[in-house]
Symmetry: D2
Subunit: 286 residues, 4 copies
């Protein structure tokens, strides 16, 4: 990530002649200095994907004015688009349960300013990490989830996310299935880490499933949450080698290292607007 | 692999106190020099797995006498066991279709004596590689397979394998589903390379399935063939990273590199008696 | 790689405002359809790198006319640039010694048309693979190299490369150090595979060096050849895990799988104009 | 790691006929139940390496008596050996500077009881993590190191390690070069994580060196500390892919993920007596 302030334009539109020329022509016309740019044509669907970082102080106008001036071009190209300011930190809400590894990992990155975020709050169905989170000066909310109170519990999560002005919700091994309402309300903004290399081993106890099946590698998948369990668009995946000598407990231990790394990478791609959702797939401009 | 001649004992039996002591005690009693040894206890099933390489000329008797003398111990320990002589090359029958990568790869390894095998013959449902195989001095048999002649075709494959005194059959991207008779006749002796990271993407066109699902890594699986398609015990697996810019054709190309490497590794483990089948899983003593 | 005919423009120039806009503006002005495009700004050196694939039949003029019309823009931007036609196969000359793995691998890819090349000829200091190469219909030249005849031998290699109208020379484990004259004559056109993860283990017997040093991974490096041994710009590298049980001979065997894969990837990047040399480094637009 | 209490015997000795038989014979004679066992013969040096886990309550005597009874065998075989009790937690002293990633990672693993250790204390040349460490209930010692006070500072570190009854010292990106006295006093007990794939890029600023050299992968190395900077026996290494678009700062960020994982793996191998030093190399029984 660049240290100077920049704007990130990300967009997709039907493919046609001259898209790059029009978009970068607009930027050049206003002396915009492009720091990084990525383009992708999906030849099968005829759709075009764009991500451009422009140095903020190279432009003679504000982000708001950029939006207004660029709008006719975007409309003409039938774009879905957004532009974000690196000076505006995104507000992340972390959901955890009783496992520590993703939480410690995310707080370490936040502490080191590796991720350009505010952690708005941490929400958990257990109070295991209350002290740890609050020691970091981050609000902690304990929202127990039982078979009987799910509806009320997720309404409370919804309320807390809104109250915290959250941009992105991260399920850092949250171990609960969110309500369809939450999934719908924040489509493309809830990120989960699943402890298998999807589509293998959907649902509960994937390491047990992997052990039983006798696979030689285990993995983890960072994906957007949709109503369909573990079926949302993949953002990032990785694997690690195991062998016959590894018990389920060993797999769980090895898996943690993959889970936290894959989650952190996927989250960073999302926060830096590197992920463009395309149906049930993603374009990730690393 | 060691350059001097050696015997490889591989065995499994119910776990109990003193197994290693009895087996290695027998070897030591006869001044057997152990080159390499591996042991594994499956704590859940209470089963024990052994692989030992003994220098041939350190023992005062032949392999046949070893078998006789060791038999009472093996019987007492209720072992499944075998012992092989590195001086006796295994006879491999390669099955191919129209894709070249695994065939070229295996012949290169054979040519360099990296694999301690005789290639008894190559059988194919196409004659694409007849000249190439025969140039290497290896018999080539063209056995066309059509929807109508499957029964006769696989009977012919069976006959050719027997006539060639084959030990191991390798499906080097053969692209046909063997008959249940063949699978049963050579259980634990037929090795396939499947072009996905199983259990994801069973069956036909796995790269298309992977493309549609939007995975971030693709893989290959080397496994023993059983009647259940792509369900046999895994021997070796590996993956390679792809991204949104890769078409199905790109995946096919990347995949070839994984397929041939995974097949060669799995085959070598099998030929060196490093693979012990355990239900639908394998112990692989690398 | 795309199946329809396309032109590949690759270029570098000092960074400034508006480079993409000018280049893609020129293409759009003539209704050029961009299949793939990549850009990179080296912030430290202030240099900009470009690679664009344009569908050939979307343009109203020939490649020659493209060159003439684009020239003023390139001159104005102080570009180093080239544009190639996917319909013109590059002519590759392969140099081998007595190891088979890279040669078999490259011929398999060529046979499958995975690489869009003509293999102009194979040159070797041994005649080991004469029959194998000629069976494929490819000319083979045996040019022995001894301590006494190096000058004459490399003059002969030079002559054969010219006579074969070679574009790229591939040292596929050639095991000889080319003369400074050859290195200079074909700067940026000679590709070597070195059997270590450079800069570790320069020069002879890198697997022995790796064994002695006790590393836990071994690797291979594909790089452009320069006069400085194993110091040229890296194109591609990869590694594989080993452990204490692996002898030097095991490392050699494992290493082969990495060497051939890394060489094939690096060569493909080069042939598809994906590699832009930048001092002693490379930009590789995968 | 097994959940029941066990003893771990690790040993090396000159290779000869019958080593395994004698060692496992002794264990079997006393009804010892072997949970896990690994053996390695270094054919070049003629040295034999052993690691055996025996279930504690399967033996009819204490660890002390094991030591006495086994001693004659060990003496006869000219063994270097040790046996440890899984019920006795090792005491680890962590040395840090101002980087957070390895510290957070180790404390997360300790918190989850993934590592079977007591963290005796944390020592740092900065007080950055004083609050964080103390919040976990772990003593923190601030020992500033300046060009002028090195001798006194390392004497203080030495004193604190002794006072804390430390078994193992972990340099978790400590960024200071320990005194020769400390290296000598705790040979084979000080573990460092170096942020390069050694032997490439010894010493300061390895990511800058990697950037300048244009490598395509960066790595990390966990090794025992000796007087020779970054030259001690390697325990574990790993790498991650980068490309031309990654700045030194990006490499530092990617590198952290490798560093903490490699350190944690290497440390676990050490703590579980899986590492046997052999000259300047290691046997690691994973």
């Amino acid at each position: 990530m660049h240290t100077q302030r920049f704007y990130t334009l990300s967009a997709s539109c039907p493919d046609q002649v001259g898209i790059i020329a029009r978009v970068t022509g607009f930027i050049a016309e206003h002396q915009g200095w492009i720091l990084e740019s990525s383009f992708h044509a999906d030849a099968i669907d005829g759709r075009y994907f764009i991500r451009i970082e422009v140095k903020a102080d190279s432009l003679p106008f504000s982000l708001e004015e950029f939006r207004q001036r660029f709008n006719p071009i975007a409309t003409d190209l039938r774009m879905n688009w957004r532009i974000n300011d690196s000076a505006v930190k995104k507000r992340v809400v972390i959901m955890v349960s009783k496992q520590e590894h993703c939480l410690y990992d995310l707080l370490a990155r936040w502490q080191a300013q590796e991720l350009n975020i505010d952690i708005a709050c941490v929400i958990s169905n257990h109070d295991t990490f209350k002290g740890f989170v609050e020691w970091h000066g981050i609000p902690f909310h304990h929202v127990p989830v039982t078979p009987d109170n799910k509806s009320a519990a997720y309404a409370e999560v919804h309320r807390l996310f809104e109250a915290a002005q959250g941009d992105t919700m991260v399920l850092a091994r949250y171990m609960q299935i969110l309500s369809p309402e939450l999934c719908a309300a924040y489509a493309g903004r809830i990120i989960n880490i699943h402890h298998s290399f999807l589509p293998s081993f959907v649902g509960a106890k994937p390491y047990h499933q992997a052990y039983t099946r006798g696979v030689k590698l285990i993995g983890a998948t960072c994906h957007y949450v949709t109503e369909a369990l573990d079926q949302g668009p993949n953002i990032e995946q990785d694997v690690i080698r195991i062998d016959h000598s590894d018990s389920v407990e060993d797999m769980v231990r090895y898996g943690k290292d993959i889970e936290k790394t894959v989650l952190a990478r996927g989250l960073r791609y999302h926060l830096e607007d590197r992920v463009l959702v395309h149906g049930n797939k993603t374009v990730v401009f690393r």
